[in-house]
Symmetry: C2
Subunit: 338 residues, 2 copies
DNA sequence: ATGTTCGATCGAATCGATTCCGCGAATCGA
DNA sequence: TCGATTCGCGGAATCGATTCGATCGAACAT
């Protein structure tokens, strides 16, 4: 079922079939109709590999994800889903490639095998070898996240520093003087995970600006760790009256531990942070938080990548998103305990 | 940077380069060394499209996922991650294709464009047009899940009927006489979602066998719906003393609503079901449940697909998993309320 | 010394598309 | 009616690999 078969049945040459399909040269209405009929009848579609070989592009983009060993977070899942969705809308296919760990063969295969026209890179670290590799390979790519010095690359990212700062200001406005930051896991931060570092920086700056005292905790991405973290904060810093977090997965634990400690939200303790809206809305009471528009970010990344592929020499574009803090009901005026 | 370039620099013909790479014909040690040196120096990798075109296989498998519009569940995410991981281990790449909704162009492109050697199909319905399509296209595929009549296809699935039946028997052994099933969403079940139907069947059969009375509820995949569902059960069937569920995402809501109602688990109310272990372990108290080995299932699906591709004429193989119910502490002897 | 065998390598065909070049027929203006 | 232009289409080269026969020189037996 190749183009030659179609040509034979329609009584024309292969090139004519190709031109009717692409429309790059006029074809008379009668032969055109005849060819399309045969194509419909045989359910023909051009072989994607042959086409890619000749055209030099694959109409496919690579999506580089962290290895499965580290459970993907909900936010990362949203990225994947929205990238796939946006790509499908643009008639692009998505080739998944786990990287990190022992999966660098997969990454290399995708890069140097010319299987993709461009790459979307998730989970970028402040220093990231994959970015260097892609730049040297000359393959267009867009980061979801960014490295420490990222002027030269295309990316879309969430402005964690600004968002956490806004949360701190919000808490300060409510009279809180002692606040805590619940960050992502210590390993992640130590590995140069950008959001962790930038959230901490924004937290420190806002705390200093408002003359508060702030403590920061690292916390693994699960309910149990969230509980443990709140317990540690209450024990080690009983003066703390509010927390801000970028750790969505810890939220259920935070809620549980505060309940267990007999602290009502927001009467006795305020909670805020940065989280996808479904986390915020499942919190009780609903979480005052900056809602990360993960779905939109994935779509934007595909957009950027498409233009980067189309115009490889164009100067890189960046998109730093800082959605507003949605006031729900998990923060309130400070109230002195005991 | 193609094979011709390598051949020129090494002073040999293209075929010799190809044979050193594939080892399908002997090459003398000296030229072999010379060629490999050039390859290393230039960082050459064969063009995947050209190779696929000639060989007639792509070393790529397609993973068909539900569209992003419906949020993927944690279990589905585990499938995706483990499939990608297992494929990478087998030096296969994974092409993602959303299907359903308006994304059938993507599905068709992957199938008829010969972009993949085989397909893994997620979220199979009892009647599923994609299965028919793949069969008629003659493309090897493995389902994660299965259709109503599934003898003729390859699949790996969880035996929801048996697992839910075991949960019911366990509850009956503890003296419970009135039990409820919390299923997935009504739309999903109405659309012919296999696990929903089979869980219900297993529930009904076990309830009958033990002479219990059982009610079943559909419930959307989120915390809030879980709460609402428990409230409805307590209101409409106050005699119920235990629930079994296959709805992981509803578990936090189930827990919350029971707490709110002043019912202690497992003293006043028992909860059990089928759930990935991290859901079970985040429940409080830890959930007695059959742990779905999603990670293993993804890996098995890749295995099956690989053998199906290698031996297309072999009779289909199936894998029906029924992991044991892990006794944790969310079930206990019945106790009459009021 | 001559014919044979065998190992190492080369040349050319092939996979299935796209695209440039050019040919014949139809159409046009004068 | 004749040369020029246009229109529609076919032929062949090309993309970058794999693979099958063919070749060539060396080693071997007779």
């Amino acid at each position: 079922m190749n183009i030659g078969e179609i040509a034979r049945r329609a009584g024309v040459s292969r090139s004519t079939v190709s031109y009717t399909l692409s429309g790059k040269r006029p074809v008379s209405e009668t032969t055109r109709r005849r060819i399309l009929d045969v194509i419909d009848e045989l359910d023909y579609q051009p072989n994607a590999n042959a086409r890619a070989l000749k055209e030099g592009r694959t109409r496919t983009l690579g999506l580089v994800i962290p290895p499965a060993s580290s459970r993907l977070t909900d936010m990362q899942l949203d990225f994947v889903a929205s990238v796939v969705d946006a790509a499908a809308r643009a008639d692009l296919d998505v080739l998944l490639s786990p990287s990190g760990g022992d999966h660098d063969r997969s990454f290399e295969r995708v890069i140097t095998g010319r299987r993709v026209d461009g790459v979307i890179l998730m989970e970028i670290r402040l220093e990231d070898a994959r970015v260097t590799r892609l730049q040297q390979a000359g393959l267009p790519f867009v980061g979801i996240g960014r490295t420490a010095r990222s002027d030269g690359m295309w990316w879309v990212d969430v402005d964690y520093a600004t968002l956490i700062a806004r949360c701190v200001h919000h808490l300060a406005d409510l009279g809180h003087r002692d606040v805590a930051l619940i960050n992502r896991s210590a390993e992640l931060v130590a590995a140069g995970y950008g959001p962790g570092h930038r959230a901490l920086a924004g937290f420190a700056e806002a705390v200093a600006e408002r003359g508060l005292t702030g403590v920061d905790y690292c916390c693994a991405d699960d309910t149990l760790a969230g509980e443990a973290c709140i317990r540690a904060i209450l024990r080690e810093h009983p003066e703390v009256t509010a927390v801000a977090t970028i750790n969505e997965a810890a939220l259920p634990g935070i809620q549980r531990a505060l309940e267990t400690a007999g602290l009502a939200i927001p009467r006795d303790f305020s909670v805020t942070g940065v989280a996808a809206s479904h986390w915020a809305e499942n919190f009780r009471p609903p979480l005052t938080a900056a809602d990360v528009p993960a779905i939109e970010m994935g779509a934007q990344a595909v957009q950027l990548l498409a233009t980067s592929i189309a115009t490889p020499e164009a100067p890189p574009r960046q998109l730093l998103l800082a959605p507003a803090v949605s006031l729900r009901s998990s923060t309130g005026p400070v109230r002195v305990r005991r």
